[in-house]
């Protein structure tokens, strides 16, 4: 089959057509897809409804782009990551929940919160009405610390526990993300204690700063991450340098401004871009990247414009009207992945198939050159309505989706090919410096780390000092295993294989990983 037949490539539903939307000859395929969803034994109602809605939206044509850009989409250099044809809401939002707590909401008919009960109830209400997937639950300690002394200590722990459990059960997704730190707070402490016991999927990031975060708080967080692979350790200093103080981490490890968000995420596949080149390093870096990045920006901007100019979302939504979200704090993502395959391919073309990204200094230099060049090119082209990042589309290392086969997430060194710990961090730190919109490195320690959390903190500090932005840390034999950037439970994976209903949509994505990328589930066995 011709790869350029725009209806057949794998990233889209079989009835989709970029230019025309659903046509009459695809109606049968479309109906079958709807029926398959209705009858799916593994989905609960909400998941079926979401899938149906996405399918309906995908009956529309995609926002118009040039032939060259569409060709790159068809060639899978540019990937639209199942956001669907017509972006009618932002991909991610990071509302200013503090404003909601202190002023209340007219639309939600909520008065200002006066105690811990009200504050947590307000937040849970807000999550329900979020205008995107619930990827950001707030800087929980900032939000709740002012209310923590409105009840006695035991009650506070009880309320916070119920809140945290309900936040997870209402939005059972490892893309739901809360932030704590950098200061030690009562809420931060309590939340770590609770999170360790509850073992929820909800993700957590500690904004860590060695001069601000107390050692004892950081060590509690280390002890947690060795048990439940969270919180992530975020380099607060590096992030404030790029974003100012009011940034947040949402979804996997995505950075955005508080009170703003991300219009859309469009992915760029370094590996597939290789096929656009004549195979040489200079052509890839100096011609293909500049040309394709320009087209990538075109695609991103077509989607932003559709959302901002066509859908009226920013005029009609209470989140914007009441000031919890502000349009000029938004930006969009260009999310790269498949760096390892591109580097290894280019090195092989240059007669050095042995020179692998991760272990060979020349390959590592090439990796850095590619990543830096991409960033420079991205910065040359304005992002539409991207005032949230000085008019720029934000550079992001994308963690991968289940349909990615034989392609490494983000800019990571492939699992199993990592050099020793220090060299691994030094190599990836160079790339973390260049990508400020979310990038993470995964580390796994053996059981001895649990006896010596100070040692892990030593490594976190040094890694941050080198430029590493996000570290996700786990230990072998823990109940949780890391699949790329999010959490899943091993028992859930087994159930997914049995097609039993799962509440956790992200576990589904991970189950896809299990089928296509079993190595991700073998992280537990890899050397640490």
């Amino acid at each position: 089959m011709d790869k350029h037949d725009s209806t057949i490539y794998s990233k889209f539903n079989p009835y989709e057509d970029l230019q025309q939307g659903l046509t009459s000859e695809k109606l049968d395929v479309y109906r079958k897809s709807v029926l398959d969803t209705l009858k799916s034994p593994g989905m609960i109602l909400r998941q079926k409804r979401d899938t149906l809605a996405l399918g309906a939206m995908c009956a529309l044509p995609y926002p118009q782009v040039s032939d060259r850009a569409r060709r790159l989409i068809e060639d899978e250099v540019i990937c639209l990551i199942s956001e669907g044809a017509a972006p009618y809401h932002p991909r991610y939002v990071a509302p200013d929940y503090q404003k909601l707590l202190s002023l209340g909401s007219e639309f939600l008919e909520l008065a200002p919160a006066t105690d811990l009960y009200e504050a947590t109830a307000h937040l849970l209400t807000a999550y329900y009405y979020l205008p995107s997937e619930p990827v950001f639950l707030g800087r929980i300690d900032h939000l709740l610390e002012p209310f923590i002394d409105t009840v006695d200590e035991d009650t506070a722990a009880h309320v916070l526990r119920s809140f945290w459990l309900m936040a997870d059960r209402l939005n059972p997704s490892a893309f739901s993300h809360a932030n704590i730190g950098p200061q030690e707070t009562k809420v931060g402490r309590l939340l770590l204690t609770i999170d360790r016991k509850l073992k929820t999927l909800t993700n957590l990031t500690l904004r860590y700063h060695p001069d601000i975060t107390s050692d004892s708080f950081a060590l509690q967080a280390v002890a947690n991450t060795l048990e439940v692979t969270k919180p992530y350790f975020l380099n607060h200093q590096a992030m404030t340098e790029a974003w100012g103080d009011n940034y947040v981490t949402a979804s996997c490890y995505n950075t955005m401004r508080l009170g703003g968000g991300i219009y859309t995420l469009v992915r760029y596949n370094f590996k597939e871009a290789l096929a656009q080149s004549d195979g040489t390093i200079s052509d890839y870096v100096d011609r293909v990247i500049p040309e394709t990045v320009e087209r990538l920006v075109e695609v991103v901007n077509s989607r932003i414009r559709y959302l901002v100019e066509e859908t009226g979302w920013f005029e009609t939504n209470f989140w914007v009207q009441e000031g919890f979200l502000v349009r000029d704090r938004f930006t969009a993502y260009a999310g790269v992945y498949g760096l390892a395959e591109a580097v290894n391919g280019l090195m092989a073309n240059a007669g050095r198939p042995d020179a692998r990204y991760g272990s060979d200094p020349v390959a590592n230099e090439l990796a850095e050159r590619i990543v830096v060049r991409f960033g420079e090119e991205l910065a040359k082209h304005p992002g539409a309505y991207c005032e949230g990042k000085n008019g720029q589309i934000t550079y992001h290392a994308q963690v991968g989706i289940s349909s990615d086969i034989d392609v490494t997430p983000g800019t990571r060194i492939p699992t199993g090919e990592e050099p020793d710990l220090y060299a691994h961090l030094a190599t990836e730190a160079l790339l973390h410096r260049a990508i400020d919109g979310g990038i993470s490195t995964i580390l796994e320690f053996d059981q001895t780390a649990k006896e010596n959390p100070e040692a892990v903190l030593d490594i976190i500090r040094a890694a941050h000092e080198m430029g590493i932005r996000t570290l996700s840390i786990g230990s072998a034999n823990s109940e949780f295993i890391r699949v790329s950037g999010w959490l899943i439970r091993r028992s859930d994976l087994d159930r997914a294989k049995d097609e039993k209903a799962l509440r956790h949509s992200s576990s589904y994505l991970a189950a896809g990983f299990f089928d296509t990328k079993p190595i991700h589930l073998h992280r537990i066995e890899r050397k640490v």
Binding site: D420, A423, A426, A455, D458, M466, G467
Partner: protein, 324 residues
């Protein structure tokens, strides 16, 4: 800021033990009481015999640590986990023919090891009849520091172990002096405690902590396990505790030797007479790496380890742990 990551451990050709006169007296196989042979009369820094440098360890003191393993030990433990570190090479050359890579050369009466060619198969160690290894490097304190410096940002400190680290006390002192001059890293010595008092005194100013192995409290068990008395070990523990330099006392729990609750109580009782805050760690014996009769010994189970901890706590110690 960002260190280079050269392969710091490889030197072109290191003639272990090729120090000429400084080595005389060091050739004999067997236990030695101290590193007199390494002392020289000038102010030159001492030369050390280094078996291995680890860039990362979570189990050799507080935080993440580099660990330097020095060759040579004055004990001869039945369950030694690194028997090839007991003696210095006597250049008998029996290992040379066992090397599949030609990484060992016998020249002018000395065995030389080429780390570039070595594939770390350890055939030489298996072949050595003297509980030694030809893979030992001579180095000076400054060069040893240069090996550790690139990853110093990741570390809390440096631990010197062995073998018996205190067998090369002067080298350790000079090395720690260098570490303190070049960094903020802390320093720790792992020792069996059978050490002359004056060596400890010399090390105090540059050593933040010591970890002392008390192989057994019972003198007979200690004698049988190690071939040595434990009187001086206990003196060392008292001395270091008095100087606030005792990080931890460790005991490997060996079935049939020191795995009884009574032994744990006695050990803890002894430590109680010094300071109830002394940290005591029980480690499981594991047969990995051992030779001879210990290969057949069993690893104590969780029940035994828990009863040891409980007995030591009952005796009044505040901080008793056991290994995983």
């Amino acid at each position: 800021m960002l260190p280079d990551w050269p392969c710091v451990f490889r030197t072109s050709l290191s003639y272990n033990g090729a120090a000429g006169s400084a080595l005389k007296g060091m050739r004999s196989v067997g236990t030695r009481s101290r590193d007199e042979a390494l002392r020289n009369e000038s102010n030159e820094p001492a030369i050390g015999f280094v078996n291995k440098v680890l860039s990362q360890s979570f189990v050799d003191g507080p935080g993440n640590r580099a660990v330097v393993f020095l060759q040579g030990c004055n004990f001869n433990c039945l369950y030694c986990h690194n028997p090839y570190m007991i003696n210095l090479c006597n250049h008998c050359s029996q290992c040379v023919s066992h090397c599949p890579e030609g990484a060992l050369i016998f020249k002018d009466g000395l065995v030389a090891w080429n780390p570039e060619a070595c594939i770390e198969c350890d055939a030489c160690i298996q072949a050595c009849p003297h509980n030694s290894s030809p893979q030992v490097r001579r180095t000076n304190p400054h060069d040893l520091w240069l090996e550790i410096e690139p990853f110093a940002p990741f570390l809390s400190g440096v631990t010197v172990s062995g073998g018996e680290a205190m067998q090369q006390a002067q080298f350790v002192r000079d090395f720690f002096t260098e570490v303190k001059a070049q960094s903020n890293l802390n320093t720790l010595i792992q020792t069996n405690g059978d050490v002359p008092r004056e060596d400890l005194e010399e090390l105090l100013p540059v050593t933040d902590w010591f970890m002392v192995d008390l192989k057994a409290f019972d003198p007979a068990a200690h004698r049988e396990l190690t071939g040595s008395e434990n009187e001086r070990v206990m003196d060392t523990i008292r001395f270091l505790a008095r100087h606030k330099k005792l990080f931890q006392v460790r005991q490997v729990v060996v079935p049939g030797f020191n795995d009884s609750e009574a032994e744990a109580k006695q050990t803890a009782g002894f430590l109680m007479t010094i300071d109830p805050a002394i940290d005591l760690l029980f480690l499981r014996f594991r047969s990995h790496g051992t030779r001879g009769i210990a290969e057949a010994w069993e690893t104590p189970g969780n029940e035994v380890m828990a009863s040891m901890v409980a007995a030591a706590e009952e005796a009044g110690l505040d901080q008793v742990h056991r290994s995983i």
